[in-house]
């Protein structure tokens, strides 16, 4: 594959963003590269964020967005903690309950999105609030507390909430698995083509025989359930669940996805890009602790990275579109 083919790929910009961010930290912050690469803090952050960013990224490629994940993460934590911690039901019931809640919320998002013409930003803003209210009321009503503890059995701890080598969360492996599955879905299976087409032009996609309604609902169910899964892992990892938290994931996920080269309006993007964007985001926000740079600058650097990445992705997208005519002229 030559360079011009490489720049045509949606994730090319995110590779450059990642290199730029690491170079900045090494050159200006005096970061020890080996130390940064081996650090658990950013990998743990990336894994938790990445599992949510993947399905939300797919939704964005399909031309939609889901911000209700911000409430689904604590909702997943609370569900497993209330069912298995407070009521003492088997952990499998707790996990199943949390994932089922994700499926239901995703189904509601999907049904509203496919039956109305309300933008999904607004729909999922609504369900975000609803789920938040619901989970707080449920926690207070059932347990009388906004924080519920959980004592998961060893096997659940091992599968979903242990520390590998003392510092790496097991969720990193789950993230890798999710990434592989999503890569298959978007780039290998024919369904990926449907997602790209749906984001490109929904009417044409439907006329071409793509089941756009079912596909959209499925994608919403995927993102809400993935968020619930991250919540479950958190509760099992830390033996407790809180009703608050999770809101940061909304903007962090969107940031990671956009840095990863996904077009906000849909129709363009890649799983590799989303993964690289997530890593970039995690390194920017955690890597600063390895530098001599004042910690308070972290958000500023994230903001600049985001803007730089967006500008770069825009440029490469134009290059990808223009590549053809240049090639043609050279041949003529």
């Amino acid at each position: 594959m030559n360079l011009s083919n490489l720049t045509r790929r949606p994730e090319f910009g995110s590779v450059l963003s990642l290199i730029a961010v690491i170079a900045f930290y090494v050159l200006c912050g005096g970061v020890n590269l080996g130390q940064l690469a081996g650090a658990a803090s950013w990998v743990n952050l990336a894994a938790n964020l990445g599992i949510v960013a993947l399905p939300v990224g797919l939704l964005m490629i399909a031309g939609e967005i889901d911000i209700s994940i911000g409430a689904m993460i604590p909702a997943g934590s609370m569900t497993v903690a209330i069912l298995s911690g407070h009521f003492g039901l088997p952990i499998t019931v707790g996990i199943a309950g949390a994932l089922a809640l994700g499926l239901i919320v995703g189904l509601v998002n999907g049904l509203i999105a496919t039956r109305t013409s309300v933008p999904t930003l607004i729909i999922t803003l609504g369900t975000l609030m609803v789920v938040q209210g619901l989970i707080l009321s449920a926690a207070m009503f059932l347990t009388g507390n906004a924080s519920v503890s959980l004592a998961p059995p060893d096997w659940a701890k091992a599968a979903l909430g242990q520390m590998m080598a003392g510092k790496y969360q097991i969720i990193i492996l789950w993230w890798a698995g999710f990434a592989a599955a999503f890569f298959w879905l978007l780039h290998v299976s024919p369904v990926g083509n449907w997602i790209l087409a749906m984001g490109g032009d929904q009417t044409s996609a439907r006329n071409a025989g793509i089941p756009t309604v079912r596909l959209k609902i499925a994608l919403f169910m995927l993102s809400a359930t993935a968020a619930a899964f991250v919540g479950v892992c958190g509760a099992i990892q830390f033996n407790s669940a809180q009703v608050s938290g999770g809101m940061g994931y909304i903007f962090n996920a969107i940031c990671a996805i956009v840095v990863g080269g996904v077009l906000l309006t849909g129709g363009y993007g890649s799983v590799l890009g989303i993964v690289l964007g997530t890593i970039t985001f995690a390194i920017v926000s955690q890597g600063i602790y390895f530098t001599q740079i004042e910690r308070n600058w972290a958000n500023l650097i994230i903001g600049i990275t985001l803007l730089g990445a967006v500008a770069m992705n825009e440029t490469f997208r134009k290059m990808a579109l223009g590549a053809a005519s240049k090639k043609k002229r050279a041949k003529a």
């Binding site: 790209l196 044409s204 006329n207 071409a208 129709g267 990808a320 590549a323 005519s325």
Partner: protein
């Protein structure tokens, strides 16, 4: 020669109290190009929407191969072999040529849940289909559709329709946004589609383009067929006059001449 593939018999269309099409009778035959001419607002778009299943006639009949049909949706129309290509051709600018060619009918390898999208086959077939139409400059199926010129995009869309078995090709102002050279490309492809035995409905308000490829012409004025004639029966000036509502163009010319004197 042959019986028409598609025929409109006394078709009317109104949206609420507004009558848009009035008593339309048209025959669309295989291996012929029917040029639908008319000014903006004459009802051309509504007519093609009836043919492509976006709207349904308020009264009257659409016959296909002599039997009455109805197209409740664009999908139903395309399943019957009616393909509509819009002004800008491909609608997925950020997809590759191969991927957009096979949207909804992706070629796959493997079995069951492990079916894989067959990129190589898709690209090969797509590129070959366009090249068969004489667009040899498209040679890389991984290229994005948005990187093609307007004429190439039209050609790709037409090649796609033909590949998937279209019998009637409806081209909605394919040359309107194109330069002279690009338009010639598209006209050549229209000719090739006709040679392959497709029935082509060519909507335009550029009389030159219509006369270059048309076998049959219908001029729409305010929702009615004002004239219906074969190739060589009318001159360019006569057709232009008709489109502009008959005498008005001649009047304008006379006025300008009077001012000049």
């Amino acid at each position: 020669m042959t019986a028409p593939i598609l025929e409109l018999k006394g078709v009317n269309k109104s949206f609420g109290p507004i009558d848009v099409l009035f008593d339309i009778n048209l025959k669309i035959k295989a291996g012929e190009v029917l040029c639908l001419l008319g000014d903006n607002g004459a009802g051309k778009s509504t007519l093609i929407r009836l043919l492509s299943g976006v709207h349904q006639p308020s009264s009257g009949q659409i016959l296909m191969d002599g039997a009455a049909v109805s197209f409740p949706s664009p999908r139903a129309a395309s399943e019957q072999g009616i393909a509509t290509v819009h002004q800008f051709g491909g609608t997925f600018p950020l997809m590759s040529i191969g991927r957009s060619f096979f949207v909804g009918v992706e070629p796959t390898k493997g079995w069951g849940p492990f079916k894989r999208y067959d990129r190589k086959t898709a690209n090969e077939i797509a590129v070959k289909a366009v090249q068969d139409f004489g667009i040899t400059r498209i040679d890389d199926g991984d290229r994005l559709v948005g990187g093609l010129s307007g004429g190439e995009r039209q050609s790709l869309a037409i090649a796609r329709a033909v590949h998937f078995g279209a019998r009637v090709l409806i081209l909605d102002e394919p040359t309107a946004a194109l330069g002279v050279k690009q338009a010639t490309h598209v006209l050549r492809i229209v000719n090739e589609a006709k040679r392959r035995g497709l029935a082509v409905v060519f909507i335009t308000h550029q009389v030159m383009h219509a006369m270059a490829v048309g076998d049959h012409f219908a001029v729409l004025i305010r929702g009615a067929v004002a004239a219906d004639f074969g190739k060589g029966e009318k001159t360019r000036e006569e057709i232009t006059d008709l489109m502009a509502g008959g005498a008005s163009m001649a009047n304008l010319e006379a006025e300008i001449e009077a001012q000049a004197q």
